[in-house]
């Protein structure tokens, strides 16, 4: 267990006051109409407005807070990043549109990119001028990167990419995609992969939305058919794709997850208000589940801080699996509680399948135990890496060393 000293310094408290004041002063007028928009399953809400707001944040220095100053960030310590996200969520500020650039690709380029790549891309991420999507998953391979079949070959001064990615969030809204490709044609498993940066606006890239059972479609299939990008658009060496991609995944559990907790608290509040409004709070079964949800939320918050602290100290480990299991289960249970609270009212939606907040909560939370590593994978990680139980014997596979 990693320990965290949560004593906020006077400086931290001053920073909190600064964030709170700035949001109170600026999330007004036309921006105020954006409050509460965006989020899981509601990424289509006020997209243009939220993009504009994100750029407005950038103008005032409220993006990429944890990045080093030489890369355009503010180099803020962990706690101040946490404070920012807490206050941001508490103000019900619109969900930002640049998550993947700020928290995944940016840190990856800072760690593994060339100076040219850093200079080309980082300022536009800070400014929210260019948006990014992630090309990892493929049909049939799921989240198992070792099964990547999308190929790229170097032809002159360009990489030519052929293949298909799936579950690509917001591909239709993004300017660039970071794509894991197989660049060594004879390789298998995690050998021979490379991490390429590919522009989305070109004839060789086609995006098809995937309609989800929620009726929305923030995920896409992305087809690469002779798509091209510069030879210099590989991050790390060719063949290092696995290593670089794993680093990106490590950045994913960033400080903004603390904002998730605040969002969870607001969802619980919404459920509780609904229970008070329709009297179901007097059903002891409902009341007990609400109180359990409160206790669970407290635990989530403490775990998120612990996980973050471990990440900050460079030792992020399998404890994250415990947190993932806890929050996915908590959120799914809250979704089910929400439906039990609303009862019959949950059977109909707004026009055009416009889900209210509780319906969205129910339907979206059902994916929580799947993405970002399913419950089963997390349990394996805990058993093998935390408890030290022996790995299951895996069938032998043909393996070939990467040639690159």
């Amino acid at each position: 267990m990693i320990d965290v000293d949560l004593t906020y310094s006077a400086e931290d408290e001053a920073f909190r006051a600064e964030v709170r004041a700035w949001l109170a002063d600026h999330l007004v007028g036309e921006w105020a109409a954006l409050r509460g928009t965006g989020g899981n399953g509601r990424d289509h809400e006020s997209y243009e407005g939220r993009l504009a707001w994100n750029r407005y944040l950038a103008e005032h220095g409220w993006t990429c807070l944890g990045w080093p100053e030489e890369h355009g960030g503010r180099g803020l310590p962990l706690f101040q990043q946490v404070i920012f996200h807490e206050e941001y969520a508490r103000a019900d500020a619109p969900v930002r549109v640049n998550h993947l650039g700020e928290e995944l690709l940016g840190p990856t380029l800072i760690a593994h990119g060339t100076t040219a790549q850093q200079e080309r891309f980082l300022p536009r991420i800070v400014a929210a001028d260019e948006l990014w999507c992630q090309g990892y998953s493929e049909p049939g391979a799921g989240s198992d990167l070792a099964g990547v079949r999308t190929r790229a070959r170097l032809k002159g001064d360009q990489w030519v990419v052929d293949g298909q990615k799936v579950w690509t969030s917001n591909a239709h809204l993004s300017d660039w995609c970071f794509v894991v490709c197989r660049t060594d044609a004879g390789s298998s498993r995690h050998h021979g992969l490379s991490y390429l940066l590919v522009p989305m606006d070109q004839p060789g890239v086609e995006v098809r939305p995937i309609q989800q059972l929620t009726g929305t479609s923030e995920f896409n299939e992305v087809f690469f058919d002779g798509a091209v990008t510069g030879a210099d658009m590989v991050v790390g060496e060719p063949g290092d794709g696995w290593k670089v991609a794993m680093a990106t995944l490590g950045f994913e559990r960033g400080v903004s997850t603390i904002g998730q907790q605040v969002g969870f608290a607001r969802e619980l509040e919404t459920v509780e208000e609904a229970a008070r409004a329709n009297g179901t709070i007097d059903d002891p079964g409902i009341a007990v589940r609400l109180s359990q949800a409160h206790v669970g939320l407290e635990v989530l918050r403490l775990h998120a801080l612990r996980t973050l602290s471990a990440y900050d100290s460079g030792s992020e480990g399998p404890e994250a699996s415990v947190s993932k299991l806890l929050w996915a289960r908590w959120h799914r249970d809250l979704g089910e509680l929400a439906m039990d609270v609303v009862g019959l009212a949950g059977l109909t939606t707004g026009d055009d399948y416009a889900l209210d907040r509780l319906q969205s909560l129910f339907l979206f939370s059902r994916a929580d135990t799947i993405y970002g590593g399913s419950d089963e994978i997390q349990r394996n990680i805990i058993a093998e890496r935390v408890l030290g139980l022996p790995r299951e014997p895996r069938p032998q596979e043909p393996r070939r060393e990467a040639r690159a």
Binding site: W167, Q212, L213, D340, L347, T348, T349, D351, E376
Partner: protein, 325 residues
């Protein structure tokens, strides 16, 4: 007491399966959800020829004199195949509802497949746009005045607002609601069986880390637990039907127990199916999502789990022990 199905019931279920397996019901349901009822009504007609629509109708109005247990058998199969339409309303509820009213002859036309009706038991009517008549409940039984369509969380169950129209009968036979709940329980059980079957097929063919995922013990145990939950619900559904037939005083409690257990089992089946399928199960294009939305809708229909749990509990606290038979 007869426990389990008769050979006639087995044959009936098989006949329904044969008909429905050949009918591409999934496409029918997708069309129905999009407001195109033509294929669904044709299927309704063909099912009427098997006698489903007249199961509970009086014999003088074309009924076949079937029991609630026969009804449960049929609705389990309708649920398994995901047949859209106001089946519960027309076939399970209407007979008891209309038996002693001037509109009893409607039952004959339902039995023949000529017409179908809807019933708004709780403020919304299913598929009222295809129903010849929609009924609504006040203190008495009324015709419903059908209002606007409301988007349904399950697109294949289209819901309409209603207000009370002219009175049809002064009283509402509570058995009508219990039969509707029984049919809904049987449908849930069928939907759960289908989700399990489809998921078992999927895990046999889908490989990960070089093995079919159905070989992994974690997947096996998840699916075994679904099987156990369905096997927990099955005898309760059957038992509720038997008690309704016998008209026992404990029948309402047994119906509620069946609804809760069938809902829990079907919901577990849908949750597990999604978990085991992963992201693909979450797409509308993939049929699994139809079942997931349908199960959630049926869990909330014909009495929420909270309402049925309260009914079971009321019996416990008022008269104590159920005698072990």
């Amino acid at each position: 007491m007869r426990f389990g199905r008769t050979s006639e019931q087995h044959a009936f279920a098989e006949a329904l399966d044969d008909l429905l397996e050949a009918a591409d019901v999934t496409a029918v349901a997708r069309g129905w959800a999009a407001g195109d009822h033509s294929a669904g009504l044709k299927l309704w007609q063909r099912l009427a020829e098997t006698g489903v629509t007249g199961l509970l109708a009086p014999e003088e109005h074309g009924g076949v004199g079937a029991t609630p247990a026969d009804l449960a058998v049929a609705f389990e199969r309708l649920g398994y195949h995901g047949v859209p339409g106001p089946w519960i309303e027309s076939v399970a509820v209407a007979p008891a509802l209309l038996a002693d009213t001037p509109e009893v002859e409607t039952l004959g036309r339902i039995a023949s497949g000529e017409t179908l009706v809807s019933v708004a038991s709780s403020g919304r009517a299913l598929d009222a746009d295809v129903a010849e008549q929609t009924y609504a409940f006040g203190d008495a039984l009324h015709h419903a005045v059908v209002g606007a369509e409301r988007t349904s969380a399950d697109p294949s169950r289209r819901l309409f607002e209603v207000t009370l129209g002219e009175q049809v009968a002064a009283t509402i036979d509570p058995t009508a609601l219990d039969l509707g709940t029984l049919a809904c329980s049987a449908m849930l059980h069928g939907a759960g069986l289908r989700l399990l079957d489809d998921t078992v097929s999927y895990v046999k063919q889908r490989t990960q880390f070089g093995r079919p995922i159905g070989e992994f013990q974690a997947v096996k145990h998840l699916l075994a637990d679904v099987r156990v939950a369905l096997d927990f619900a099955a005898p309760l559904v059957h038992n509720a039907a038997v008690e309704l037939e016998a008209g026992t005083t404990t029948a309402p409690r047994s119906v509620s127990a069946a609804k809760v257990a069938a809902g829990d089992a079907a919901y577990l089946a849908s949750r597990t199916a999604l978990q085991v399928h992963g992201a693909i199960g979450y797409t509308r294009e993939f049929d699994l999502s139809l079942w997931i939305l349908k199960v959630r809708a049926l869990v909330g229909a014909w009495g929420t789990p909270a309402e049925h749990r309260a009914r079971i509990l009321a019996v416990l606290t008022s008269d104590g022990l159920v005698e072990a038979r």
